[in-house]
Amino acid sequence: MSHLDLLTFARGSALNWALVLFAAGVVLRLFEILGLGRRPDLAKPRPDSPGSGWRTIVMRSVPKADTLKRDAVTYVSGYTFHIGLLVSIFFFAPHIEFFRSQSGFGWPGLPSALVDALAVIAMVALGVSLAHRITSPVKRMLSDISDYVAWAMTLLPLLTGYLAYHHLLLEYTMMLALHLFSIELLLVLLPFTKLFHAFSLFISRWYNGDISARKGVAS
């Protein structure tokens, strides 16, 4: 099997299966989570904070000054990593072509050099996050194997993409195939690991804000 054959498999059957499992997994998990339901809240809601759920989504995404001071590494590395990752995924021109092929619409990309720099920054931030997780006693105690697996699964697409773009380590076609395989692994496992926060994050923030407001704790 030549490298091009491997790439064709990665772009073909392997990607189809990964996308199918990803789409089915995400919908399944959303049904599962939302289907759990909540007990009806019979108390009369406080009237003074409509839209509190939506406000919480925004406000919890902005670090408070004191928490930033208390754990700067977590905040800075976390934000840096997520921004780098999101730009790499959604603003690299070849990636936009993928989304266009699936959704029917696209958007302008950013220069490759800029995306490349942000991908490197994201990887450095991931490294810092891991070092902090290992060295901080509290974080280490809270971590289990699934956290480290999630970390590795997130790093691999970034790393293989970077290596492919710069023609490092392996021949380009082969590295591109590995890049796709790493994404496919991520797609398959995302719905069933903590990485599902990509979907559940804003739902839970909205719910927390809304239920708190009903009880009088306006955001």
């Binding site: 030549s2 064709t8 073909g12 199918v20 990803f22 399944l28 599962e32 021109a93 072509e97």
Partner: protein
């Protein structure tokens, strides 16, 4: 007066052929300088190459054409005149090529047999076209199956050059579902050095370069994992493409021949396979260095790569899935929803069952337990 550095012209050599054609030493040195550059050899090798080639005997070449379209031969013969390609081809002894030779029928086959006999172990075998293994009758020459002719001719060859993607990798005959059971030369000949010169068709000067290397060094050039000369197939089209800066800037043509395409913007979105295609089109170009497909506004189709016909649609960007569709994802989401409903139903039943099984305790019961 003869120039001091002019080599002696030996009878029956390339040097004699050059002299007869009126090619000056200066012209020949220019040719050798170009070839050394193309072969990624040091410039100082040009003199040595000129010396070696002019003293070499005209190389006997047998050219076999199997399941092919004659595009490879067309490519090489349609080059402008006088070109490096023509020059070299006049300097080899092309003893058998059933498209180009004047002889036909038994006389043609006799020419092949005679060349094999006279140059046993020394002749160069060039093959274009794939070999059908499904049935020997699928492709025959003078009643001889392609397989038999290849194996018989390969036996006494010094080396084999598989010209074109069909000979090098199986090409379009081998594309799914491969009705003739087509294979490449390298699939069945295992005991001879094989140089793959793929392309549909390959660049004429690559062919010339390989021949020049063989005449100069008496061996084959350094090859990559697919058996292709590294000097020509060492880099991707994308890395050498003049449109590459636009890829880096995120500037892409949206449709064929739009304003962006005319301004030289990248053709990646139109399905260009340049990033995964190793060939020299972007540097040597075609038709006497005039242009190459990407310069003409069409993306690279990846013709020098093995199995490129089966590597997904030609007009889909490399980052697009080969076959995934939105409807497929819709069906997957529906299946996920059905599974989600089942899981929710199960969770709720478990919850309801737990609630039903819950026994309330009274204060009296608790105090009784304490006693």
């Amino acid at each position: 007066m003869k120039h001091a550095q002019q080599p002696d012209i030996l009878p029956g050599t390339v040097g004699e052929g050059l002299a007869q054609r009126g090619v000056t030493r200066r012209e020949f040195l220019k040719l050798c300088t170009t070839l050394t550059a193309l072969l990624a050899l040091p410039p100082s090798m040009a003199g040595a190459m000129a010396e070696a080639i002019s003293k070499a005997r005209r190389q006997s070449v047998i050219w076999l054409s199997f399941q092919e379209c004659t595009g490879c031969t067309e490519s090489i013969t349609r080059s402008h005149s006088p070109t490096l390609e023509n020059l070299i081809f006049d300097l080899i002894s092309l003893d058998y090529h059933h498209t180009l030779q004047a002889a036909s029928a038994e006389a043609a086959e006799h020419a092949r047999e005679q060349a094999m006999k006279d140059n046993d172990g020394k002749y160069l075998l060039i093959v274009d076209g794939s070999i059908p293994m499904g049935n020997p009758g699928f492709s025959t020459i003078a009643g001889i199956s392609n397989y038999d002719m290849l194996m018989e001719t390969a036996r006494g060859a010094a080396a084999i050059v598989a010209v074109g993607t069909c000979a090098a990798h199986g090409g379009i005959p081998r594309a799914d579902p491969n009705p003739t059971g087509a294979v490449s030369v390298g699939d069945i000949v295992k005991d001879k050095p094989i140089i793959n010169v793929p392309g549909c068709p390959p660049i004429p000067v690559v062919m010339t370069g390989v021949l020049a290397h063989f005449l100069t060094f008496g061996g084959i050039p350094e090859l990559d994992a697919q058996g292709r000369p590294k000097s020509f197939y060492g880099e991707t089209i994308h890395d050498r493409c003049y449109r590459r800066p636009f890829y880096d800037q995120g500037k892409f043509a949206q449709t064929f021949d739009d304003e962006a395409a005319r301004q030289g913007w990248c053709l990646f979105k139109l399905g260009c396979k340049g990033p995964v295609t190793y060939n020299a089109c972007a540097t040597t170009k075609w038709n006497d260095g005039t242009s190459f497909p990407i310069q003409s506004g069409h993306g690279c189709i990846g013709c020098s790569e093995a199995n490129f016909w089966d590597a997904g649609p030609l007009y889909k960007a490399l980052s697009m899935p080969v076959s995934a569709t939105t409807s497929m994802l819709g069906a997957a989401a529906a299946a996920g929803a059905a599974a989600g409903v089942a899981v929710t139903w199960h969770n709720r039943s478990t919850k309801a069952a737990a609630k039903a099984a819950h026994e309330k305790m009274t204060v009296q019961e608790l105090s009784r337990e304490e006693k």
